[in-house]
Symmetry: C2
Subunit: 209 residues, 2 copies
């Protein structure tokens, strides 16, 4: 055991990140109930009270985890949108696939779960999520719809559509996986194909004749 970590080691700079990473893992594996300071500390290899040196309260930790995890996703989506130049249909497909990757296969759904479960007790986090994340997400899909209509790929009514309709199945898939994974697995790839197929058929401009 020559490479064991020194006990009581001082690492002021690295600690916050380590704590957040531990919190995220704990959240993913043991859920919100298991996400206690004691568990986080144990996972991070520090003592429970050390966390208080870097975060005032448990809510601070949650908020930091949420912020951290989400900013990556938004940035990634924006990058794809801005770079893309092909037909809107394919862009839609790519964005939806990204959504599934992050949400269903990655662990972003954990935040979703936390919001549903404990949102009532943390109105500030709920507001943060709504204003910073979801509004931007909706805007992305709204832009997608407008673009599709402008180019004649989508039927005109798509302009008036609530863009959240488009992402609903992905949210559903993420939650289903979280909750019913042990009972019955969801074939994500197949589900995603169905999702895209129905939505695209529902949006497309019917061929003229």
């Amino acid at each position: 055991m020559s490479d064991r970590v020194k006990r009581n080691e001082r690492r002021k700079a690295e600690r916050p990140e380590e704590i957040l990473e531990a919190a995220r893992q704990e959240l993913a594996e043991n859920g919100i109930a298991g996400c206690t300071f004691a568990n986080i500390a144990a996972r991070a290899g520090i003592s429970r009270t050390t966390i208080y040196l870097y975060f005032k309260t448990k809510q601070d930790v949650f908020e930091a985890v949420a912020r951290n995890m989400v900013e990556q996703t938004i940035d990634a989506a924006d990058a794809v949108i801005d770079a893309y130049e092909g037909p809107v249909e394919l862009l839609f497909e790519r964005i939806v696939e990204m959504l599934y990757q992050r949400l269903v296969e990655g662990y972003a759904a954990v935040i979703l779960k936390a919001l549903v479960a404990e949102g009532q007790d943390h109105p500030e986090i709920v507001r943060f999520y709504h204003d910073e994340i979801l509004s931007k997400g909706s805007a992305v899909f709204k832009k997608l719809l407008d673009l599709g209509v402008e180019r004649g790929e989508f039927a005109p009514f798509a302009r008036e559509l609530d863009p959240r309709i488009l992402v609903s199945p992905a949210i559903f898939a993420a939650l289903w996986t979280l909750v019913f994974q042990p009972v019955s697995k969801l074939d994500v790839a197949s589900f995603r194909r169905d999702h895209i197929q129905v939505m695209m058929k529902g949006l497309k401009q019917p061929p003229e004749n």
Copy 2:
């Protein structure tokens, strides 16, 4: 105060139902965290320990609440399906509207929330819900899809479609309302119209020419 309830009154027969009703209200108003035996008892007007005379554990109460709330919904849906004889499109519309009523405007979503939040800790409830409720719900929509294809109203690919796609937006709306109600209200009626419109357009057999 001549109509005040007698203290320590004995009502063996009525107690379980009263307890469940109190638990459901507490769940709806204060969330899972607030749904403690103390709160349930206070709301039901009995002492906390009385609950233990009728339910062994907290999980028993949860399961009973879930069972109770769901059986009504399934029965109602089945009744509508069996009675209906018109075009599938309208039947689909009616069923979706029922779903929104129960899930978004009623308090059935509370169970959804509980599943997402605490499912990890209650695998029996998760299994019960999957087997008894969701599978039946899926079957209903599957039947709807098959019927639509048989009658030529829906395109053939609808047979292969995962029926859960169709209900996803309703689930989304229910959760959105639960979580983001205070921050930004969802116009349920409008959202539901969009839901139905896109899905129907996505399913319909394109007119022949």
